[in-house]
Amino acid sequence: MSFRFWGISVASLLALSALGCGQSKAPPAMQNPSGGSGGMPMTGPQSCDAPSPGPAPLHPLTRFQYDNIVRDLLGDTSHPAQAFPPENEVDGYRTNYNANQANPSLVESYLTAAEAVAASAVTDRLNDVAPCADGGTTECGHAFVSSFATRAFRRPLTDAELTPLTALFDAGSMQGYAKGIELVIQAVLQSPQFLYRVDSLRSPTTESGAMVLGGYELAGRLAFSLWGSVPDQALLDSAAQGTLATPADVEREARRMLEDPRAHDIVRDFGEQWLNLSRLDGAVRSGTDVDAAKLDSALRASLTSFLDATYFSKKGTFEQLFSDDKVWVDGTLAGLYGGSEPAASGLEAQTLPDPRYGLLTQPALLTLLSHADQTAPVIRGVFVRERILCLQVAPPPPTVNAVPPDPDPNATTRERFRQHTEQEACAGCHKLIDGIGFGFERYDQLGRYRATENGLDVDESGQILATGDADLDGDFANAAEMLDRIAKSPMARDCLATNWYRYTFGRQEMPEDTCSLAQVKDRFAKSGGDLKELIVGLTQTDSFLYRPAMEAP
């Protein structure tokens, strides 16, 4: 039997006392990219009587948004942005604007993509993109410039913006109508009005306090928040007609947009970043002969299907997200998890013979939260505390040997991890982590159910400790009990709202976000944890409906 000694030094014992295990603390906001101090830790409550929006600087498009937009504007489904350099992520979110400035690779990628997308549009789809009854006239060209740029820029253009594009068409059309269209597309796709979400245009008058957003700005925010794309014609029409002005107008449009297939893409994009699903790609787990790449992609699709179905079921709630027993399986997964062979190719919702309780017992997530050859109670426990409850977990002393103990044919994983809770130095923190992680011990490194491990009964009891929520804390007998408590926990529900807020507004929350964050949580709670209402609720916050005043130049 190989049983590693987890070395503990006196220094680490001393260090432990300073760790402050179990403290819930809001991390400070990201620093300003230019090196400024950025946000400070959240301070006490502030008055939310007057609108108090968070900042609204430029947001660069994400790869997801870029691909959606060229699909919606030009019918281009080639996903050109997948060749862009990856976004820098904060809290796992690629939408974070502070962490993402232009860089040489990105700007060159913009150029490459613009040229490829424009060439494809005029070569393959000219009649759809820029139809012209007379086979290509200046009138048609100028009409295209105006209509295309308006949709791409999400608002009517000023003369200063329109003139260079019109001139570019005129110059290009010397080589034919298609060439003129092609060059205009290239220029629009490299313009900052396209590449950045511009929510704040300074008004001609002096500004102060919270500024109400105009119809076009609201249309843009709605489209990016609910579709990850640009407004459709209906939104632009509402903005033009002045019927996109009040919170009720915004809510009406948000509800309409949730019925559109594109809303499903947002739920998937958020879910992948919230749960860090990209880390599933390339994961290798023992215990199966299925090709890793094939398994990883099937698992990822299974989990996103679960999320999608939960959010868009008739009454998808937070509680359902953490209790639903469905698992989406294809032929490969059915074989691995004991499902029945699906009737058709692709994924199918099934109730497996073994117990499942929502998101945290989905095979994909449990596989993600495992080591290659064994389960990972620590990783699972940390994930629940950080990602599901928004608690911060204190670090182990650096002198600890963190190699998980070798698999042992004569012991359960829980027994091998016993040192965590038997040694005083470890126990202080690890009972907070492993106590939750052990609750998942009946799911192996592939998320397969097991009542026994190495012929021994698997003990799935544990404890939730020091969350600051009395209803959540306490011993539990099994995963069902633990997950039932999380499914009904206001702390976990608020945490999901916080994560959506970070994703939607592209930043770690700052003091200026206090009121808006409270508005989202409050509305989500009052809706009974309705997941679609959470998305609508984001549009009903000060940070969505207003922007801070800008100083005069």
Binding site: P28, S34, P85, A102, S191, R202, A372
Partner: protein, 448 residues
Amino acid sequence: MSRTFSRRNLLRAASGAAIALPLLPSMRGRASAQTAETPKRFVTMYTPNGVIHEDWWPTNVKNEGEFDLSVSHAPLKAYQDRLLILGGIEMKVASTGTAPGGPHQRGIGGLFTNMTLGEGAFVDGCGRTAGWATGISVDQRIANVIGAQSPVASLQLGVRATENDVQGRISYAGPGMPLPPLATPLDVYTRVFGNFMPPSTTPDQDAARALLAQRKSVLDAVASEFSALETRLSSQDKQTLDAHLTLVRDVERRLSLGIGDCAKPDEPPTLDPVSETDMPTIANLHLDLLAIAFACDLTRVASFEISTALNRIRYPWVKSIGEGHALSHAGVSDADARLQLTARQTWHSSLIARLFDRLAIIAEGDGSVLDSTLLFWGNEVSMGTTHSHDNMPFLLGGGTWAFKTGRYLQYKGDSHGNLLVSLLNAMGVPDTTFGNPEFCTGALSGLA
């Protein structure tokens, strides 16, 4: 000594997948045409989680010039006279003070910047938080000087460096401005060879000129759009766009430079950037493309990042099947973990040898491209058991123009910031300090 390029030599040097260097009268294209002087090239290389010191430092040390390479560096035997192994240097920017971040974060952020991390929300897997490094990295400082005229100012190459936060970034364009690495050889190929003017001798020349003229008219219109928008933005947003527009104009200028007489190499295959099966091939092909980019003088600066701090990556091709970071917490007393950890370092050394093999067979001036290349290999911590930042496992290799190589030097806790100044000076950047002056007193002594 004069070396001549031979395809046979290259094939002999190659192991596994390789990209053939194009056979042309002159591999040096732009360099020979534009400057009489041989260009200098610079590479930073990063590998994570510290090393097993017992297997890292030279053995049988008689004096600074007489020693045997350790098992970690065994693949570099042929290049021992081109190496400088630097013991006893402390990464004070990471070990000292109360700046944010855990040891891996502070280490990777400070390694090439000599700057501390800002406040931020990145959790280091152990609960400590930090933001990005607060200064430019040494490769970018060098690129700003010697890369300004290159078609590609610098290349960031990543091998499974897919964590997109502070633990996955080694190059910084400025404070809080990390540069993401290219993940696959195809990405590198596209960036280096995708957009450039074909050689002047090909019949595509007229079409290429027309394309450039057309691109200019498009980008002129784009510049007008920038101007039109900026008048209505806050000063912070205006700065964002000014920086962006500068890059647009820079890309335009670089794309007009062309690739001289260099032919495009074969397009590399599609590989999965997160696959542990593809990982060694990605590393090999990245370096093959880098060798061509150097030889053709398409770029002069690169960073090469192998996975990320705190990773959970296995190296099954060298029988290292533990998960990287967890494995590194085991000490020298754990014989199996030690073998697995050192096997990784030996493989890392073999990558350097692969790059050197390629550069050494490309003649340039009186020598080879290797003679004008300087590589600095660093790590974000010294050893996984302690996460300390003293006695950092640092290695220099390549050309001998600036330093007296073939030596194993022992320093007494000198700050690694001083080493970065020496690297700048070697590359022709006459700075006397770099990064945080608290951890930098000038160039490191004893290298020349």
